[in-house]
């Protein structure tokens, strides 16, 4: 099937050619030639009037120059070059303060082409309504992703993850605020790594992530914030029998500031725990966690267990410590509390990861020793204690909270109502303390109890993990009246954005680096939450990589939404009709002159 354009072109061309040949034969000389030419032009203009071409008349492409745009970039045909504030100076580029301004100034553009590193968050915020193309630059050498540690309890272990580009064979090191190396990992071909350290007293600390190349030269130093929260003491009940396990648990609870009441039944009505612990609704409502040994749980009886189950549904956290193989009746009892599991009657070895990469890092993690500690006690070379765990099979509802080096479950919890029930499967965890790994013992118990403790109305606004001076930060989880206190004691009230929904979000533009505090007046007085703001240059490569990723995603989004709405457009036909009329008029006039006898 021949397209209508082609058919019309053939017909018009044949007509015009015939007319031209006829004119040329009719009269030799320049007049004949002129008329022949005019008839050809008339045919062409007729075709153009019928099928006006899709000329880029008003349908330009906007070439957006961003940071790191190559110096030789020029606007091609049908393109208009604008430069955002981050872009280097380019010849022939129009400077615009942001992308929205450029789009407003050039409303005729139909496409966007972005060159350079990519659009900043300021420009990615809205939609352009135009298809956009963007080819990201290769990621810069250095850190391209950083997941800083989450809020960490005092004394606990924290981890951070990151990714580096072009650093295969190098090392990633974590330095503590004093500059001592705490951890180090070799960077593989994928560039991803995980590092860990230990928190100290509550407060904000700045660690440093140092990347070294293959030749051990320092490539980059990136600050990593660590927030250690000061907590209200957790109230816990410990129910069990006098045993090393309960002894060391009490020791740790005492040292780590838990308000622990214990009932250690020695038989014959003798309670070595101090007495006064009853498992009734009132006392359970006043506790955050109940730690109970499996035998003590079985000895409670159905009524008491039902009380416990109700308390758990009301928010109480519960940890069942296994002291022996799980029996069917024990599993039923756990299930009635809200923890579903199978097996648990066989013991399996626990694989322990080394405490640190080397002795120096271990010393840095542990901090100054106690005054009477011997130097050669609990060194890195000490063999790890032999531990066993009851191999419990659990379903997808159980969330593992403590696992060994091979990922086997040591403690996991399951939600029930507002509360959580956890099962501790490690038999004789006190052997960790005796084997010189009390750090790990405390860490594991801390993780297990932190996961299940009664939920509490704590003031923890959501702040972006890495805040930079001069960059907008969205702070969520605040109530009206919250304000930010800058390091220079200047106060900025936070205006909550009603369009952000019930989360209570407000924007904040930090001006200077340093420790900022969000202060909010709550029911129990003033609540404060601190966060660190870093210098504008702190995360250069990180931000560059993030900009590239996000811009590519934004461009894909724009193209996907804008492609359908763009109509097929031809230029208007009237100029060609006019042209055809003029040419045809001239032709008619010329032909009349030509055909008129020379004498008249």
């Amino acid at each position: 099937m021949i397209a209508p354009e082609t058919l019309a072109a053939l017909l018009i061309a044949s007509g015009a050619l015939t007319a031209a040949v006829r004119f040329a034969l009719l009269r030799q000389g320049w007049r004949g030639w002129l008329l022949a030419g005019l008839s050809l032009a008339s045919g062409l203009s007729l075709w153009l009037a019928l099928f006006p071409p899709a000329l880029p008349l008003g349908g330009e492409t906007l070439l957006v120059a961003t940071a790191e745009t190559p110096a030789g970039t020029r606007a091609g045909p049908g393109e208009r070059l604008v430069a955002l504030p981050e872009a280097p100076s380019l010849a022939g580029a129009e400077r615009v303060p942001d992308l929205a301004t450029a789009l407003r100034r050039h409303q005729q553009v139909q496409r966007l082409r972005i060159v350079g590193r990519g659009l900043t968050e300021r420009d990615r915020d809205g939609t352009a309504g135009l298809p956009a193309t963007f080819t990201p630059l290769p990621p810069p050498r250095g850190l391209i992703r950083l997941d800083p540690p989450a809020d960490t309890p005092a004394g606990a272990v924290f981890t951070l993850a990151g990714e580096a580009a072009g650093m295969a064979g190098g090392t990633a090191e974590l330095l503590d605020p004093a500059g001592q190396r705490v951890d180090s990992r070799a960077i593989g071909d994928t560039g991803q790594f995980t590092l860990g350290g230990t928190a100290r007293a509550p407060g904000l600390a700045t660690f440093t992530l140092r990347l070294r190349g293959r030749d051990k030269a320092i490539v980059s130093d990136t600050p990593v914030p660590l927030r250690t929260l000061e907590e209200r003491p957790v109230r816990a009940l410990l129910i069990g029998a006098p045993s090393p396990e309960t002894k060391y648990l009490r020791r740790w609870a005492e040292d780590s500031g838990i308000e622990l009441k214990s009932r250690l039944d020695a038989g014959g009505g003798v309670d070595l725990g101090g007495g006064g612990v009853r498992l009734d609704t009132g006392s359970l409502a006043e506790s955050d966690i109940v730690i109970i040994e499996d035998r003590a749980l079985m000895a409670l009886g159905g009524g008491a267990r039902a009380t416990l189950a109700r308390a758990v549904a009301g928010g109480l956290g519960m940890v069942v410590v296994m002291t022996g193989p799980a029996t069917a009746s024990a599993r039923d009892a756990w299930r009635s509390l809200g923890f579903a599991s199978e097996g648990g009657d066989e013991i399996a070895p626990v694989a322990l990861a080394p405490l640190a990469t080397d002795a120096e890092a271990l010393a840095a993690q542990r901090g100054p020793p106690l005054p009477d500690a011997a130097d050669d006690l609990n060194t890195l070379d000490d063999p790890a204690p032999e531990l066993g765990r009851w191999a419990l099979r659990t379903g997808p509802d159980v969330v593992p909270v403590v696992t060994d080096a091979e990922g086997a479950l040591i403690a996991g919890w399951q939600q029930r109502g507002q509360g959580r029930v956890a099962l501790w499967t490690l038999a004789g965890s006190f052997a960790l303390v005796l084997g010189g790994q009390q750090d790990r013992y405390a860490q594991w118990w801390s993780a297990a109890l932190s996961a299940v403790a009664r939920p509490d109305a704590v003031f923890r606004p959501e702040v972006p993990a890495l805040v930079q001076a001069g960059e907008r930060a969205a702070i969520c989880g605040i109530a009206p009246g919250a304000r930010v206190i800058a390091p220079d004691k200047a106060e900025v009230a936070l205006a909550i954005d009603p369009s952000a929904g019930p989360r209570g979000c407000a924007a904040f533009w930090p001006l200077a680096p340093g420790e900022h505090r969000i202060v909010q007046t709550g029911r129990d007085g003033e609540l404060a939450f601190a966060f660190l703001v870093f210098a504008e240059t702190a995360f250069t490569s990180l931000r560059a990589a993030e900009t590239g990723r996000e811009t590519a995603r934004w461009a894909a989004q724009q193209s996907a939404t804008a492609a359908r709405s763009l109509p097929e457009r031809r230029s208007a036909a009237w100029p060609y009709v006019l042209l055809w009329l003029l040419v045809s008029g001239a032709l008619w006039f010329g032909e009349r002159r030509l055909r008129a006898p020379p004498g008249t």
Partner: protein
């Protein structure tokens, strides 16, 4: 009558003159040599050179005096006095004279007697003496000038940290720090390059500082401590201090507005000496038959010097079985060699100790270093000399009464590994046969060790090492080959219940298939580990016996790892002090009655880490505000034994005190405090409930 005159009265003045000449001409050279020796090699060499030169000079003088004999006298008299008519020889001749000669001799003798003997001597060689003494004085003066210049302090070095001072404000322009280590170290005084000083503890530090323009007074201010006032001398302000404790100091001068940066004063502690045993090579030696004396060699090393005198303690354990008498006596021994590495060689006469078969002699050396005051005394390792007991009497039918004499000293698994590695290293230098033989020897050691551990498993008695049966054909067993090698690793082989036992003779010589009691002493996990260890040892033994130590090494290492784990598994944790049990109520005991029992709560003493001060300061430093620097500094000083680098923390505190407003210094101190903060036991974090939204969500989950 005898007319001959004794020539001596005439010779004596000349001889004296000649000797004097020699002494005067050459003594400047001796003095110059002695001075050079003193300057270059110390006063002892100088004195030796002076004495030696004096002796040589005396000998030379005596020789030149002795050259003047009768012949010289006769020649001199004949040459000087014409009136003697060339006949002076007649006077001093001892030969028989003819009558004419006699007559002439008498005439001449009268004339000779009239001559003054002093006139015969040579005149003083004034020019030579003047030349020699002139040259000598010049050389001595040169040496003296050189020495004075040598010992003069160097000029003040330009101060590194001259702060930009306002006009008229004193500025540190020159510095010189002299470190005089304590005399006992034997170190020469030296000059420090910078104002940061690291020197042996007890050194005297002498500062000389220059300021421009000159201040009214100047001092060294120890941070948080004393103030050392400087006195103005010829070449600057000087002061001195004895370096005992680490500290920071800064230079101050009257009129100085800004404080100069603090400098470190760091003493290097004196290490105690270390004693090493040289001979015998192992900690246990066996007395040879007929041995009269025993040579023990120790080596003591110290960072400065080991005292020449050391104390040797000899303990004897004489007797057998339960009837053993101990005696201890000590003697002082003298060391030789380099003071830093002294060697003590002691020959112990064995006869004096009254050793009888079966007794032990333990020698132990106690050395001290030369620290003053308070030398550090260290007791070295003990070495045992054992007088082997005689072999049991070989009586037919009494075989079973044979007693194992020597407690089995096995090589440890670590020693086996060390031996194997040494053998692999020496492979190239050994012949194939010898290599195999040595590998086999190590294999035997490995076997003995395996059997030793096998006893715990109740391994068949057939495999247990049998003591040599006392038969007539049998030679002395090569036991000493298998003694623990070097006296450092005796703890490896655990004591077995049948260790050297006399009572278990049946198990030693019989053939029992049943496991012994020992095997039930271990829990199943340890038994499994032990089995793995034994398997690895077996593999190692096989490879060693076939001369493949390289192949054996991995198994040896594996076995060592298992043994370590076994030891870990069976580790017993005991409190440092004994627990005090309440007395047992005998009336209740074993009655089963539980009435009236009152359970007291088990109280825990809270664990207190005294780091509230730095933790508070650390938190406060994050915010602008005033910090209690004095309290923090006091805390750091009180706890400086625990902190890795207390001076760095103190320096950060001090720097912040100088500029309380500086953000960078606050950050620096905050960073330094991180090393001071004790890591608390991991605490529990409350989880948030997610606000009203979160609560509704959790409720909606059901």
């Amino acid at each position: 009558m005898s007319l001959e005159l004794s020539p001596d009265p005439w010779l004596a003045p000349a001889r004296r003159r000649a000797a004097g000449d020699t002494v005067l001409v050459w003594s400047p050279l001796v003095l110059v040599l002695a001075a050079l020796g003193w300057a270059l090699a110390g006063i002892a060499v100088g004195v030796v050179l002076l004495i030696g030169g004096g002796i040589a000079l005396a000998w030379l003088a005596a020789r030149s005096a002795a050259r003047l004999d009768t012949g010289w006298l006769v020649r001199r008299l004949n040459a000087r006095e014409a009136q003697l008519e060339d006949s002076a020889a007649l006077v001093f001749s001892l030969a028989q004279r003819s009558p004419l000669e006699q007559l002439q001799a008498e005439r001449i003798a009268a004339r000779v007697a009239a001559i003054d003997p002093a006139a015969l001597a040579d005149a003083w060689p004034r020019r030579r003496i003047a030349l020699a003494s002139g040259l000598g004085i010049a050389a001595l003066a040169g040496i003296a000038v050189w020495q004075i210049q040598e010992s003069a302090p160097p000029p003040l070095a330009p101060a590194a940290d001259s702060n930009a001072a306002a006009p008229g404000e004193p500025r540190l322009t020159g510095q010189r720090v002299r470190i005089v280590p304590p005399a006992y170290t034997g170190l020469a005084p030296r000059y420090a390059e910078t104002l940061d000083i690291r020197a042996p503890a007890g050194s005297r530090i002498e500062w000389t500082l220059a300021f421009a323009p000159p201040p009214q007074s100047a001092a060294l201010q120890l941070v948080g401590g004393q103030r050392v006032a400087l006195t103005q001398g010829a070449d600057g302000w000087s002061g001195a201090l004895r370096l005992d404790v680490p500290a920071l100091y800064r230079v101050t001068a009257q009129g100085m507005r800004a404080a100069l940066p603090a400098h470190r004063l760091e003493p290097i502690a004196d290490e105690p000496p270390q004693v090493r045993m040289i001979a015998p090579a192992s900690g246990l030696a066996t007395m040879q038959p007929g041995q009269r004396s025993w040579r023990v060699v120790f080596e003591a090393a110290d960072d400065y010097a080991v005292d020449t005198l050391a104390r040797l303690t000899v303990t004897t354990a004489i007797g057998e079985g339960e009837n053993v008498r101990f005696a201890e006596r000590s003697q002082t021994v003298t060391g030789t060699g380099d003071p830093r590495r002294r060697r003590f060689t002691i020959d112990l006469p064995l006869g004096a100790y009254g050793l009888v078969p079966g007794s032990d002699l333990v020698a132990q050396l106690t050395v001290a270093d030369t620290r003053s005051p308070g030398p550090q005394v260290v007791r070295g390792p003990g070495v045992i000399l054992r007088f082997p007991a005689p072999k049991p009497t070989e009586v037919a039918g009494l075989d079973l009464m044979a007693k194992q004499q020597m407690p089995a000293y096995f090589r440890s698994q670590r020693q086996v590994i060390i031996d194997t590695e040494a053998l692999i290293r020496q492979r190239r230098s050994l012949g194939a046969e010898e290599f195999l033989a040595r590998s086999n020897t190590i294999g035997v050691d490995q076997r003995l060790l395996r059997l030793r551990y096998g006893q715990f498993m109740g391994m068949e008695a057939e495999e247990t090492p049998k003591p040599p049966l006392p038969t007539a054909e049998k030679d002395e067993p090569a036991e000493p080959e298998h003694y623990d090698g070097d006296g450092h690793d005796h703890g490896e082989a655990p004591e077995s219940p049948v260790f050297g036992g006399l009572g278990n003779v049946l198990a030693d010589y019989g053939h029992t298939h049943d496991e012994s009691e020992a095997a039930t002493l271990l829990d199943p996990g340890t038994r499994d580990l032990l089995k793995l260890a034994l398997d690895a040892m077996w593999e190692a033994e096989v490879n060693l016996r076939t001369g493949k130590p390289e192949a054996a090494l991995p198994f040896e290492n594996k076995a060592l790892g298992y043994i370590k784990r076994i030891q870990q598994a069976t580790r017993i944790y005991l409190p440092r002090i004994g627990s005090q049990q309440p007395p047992i109520d005998m009336t209740r005991r074993l009655t089963g009655k539980r009435e009236g029992i009152v359970g007291g709560p088990a109280r825990l003493t809270p664990f207190v880490i005294e780091d509230a001060v730095p933790a508070t300061a650390w938190r406060a430093l994050g915010q602008p505000g005033v910090i209690d620097l004095a309290g923090l500094e006091g805390w750091v000083r009180g706890n400086n034994a625990r902190i890795r680098d207390p001076l760095a923390v103190l320096a950060a505190i001090d720097a912040l005190r100088g500029q309380p407003g500086s953000r960078a210094l606050r950050e620096k101190l905050r960073g330094q405090l991180w090393t001071v903060l004790t890591r608390p036991p991991a605490q529990v974090q409350r989880r948030g409930d997610g606000g009203a939204l979160g609560r509704r969500y959790v409720e909606g989950l059901r």
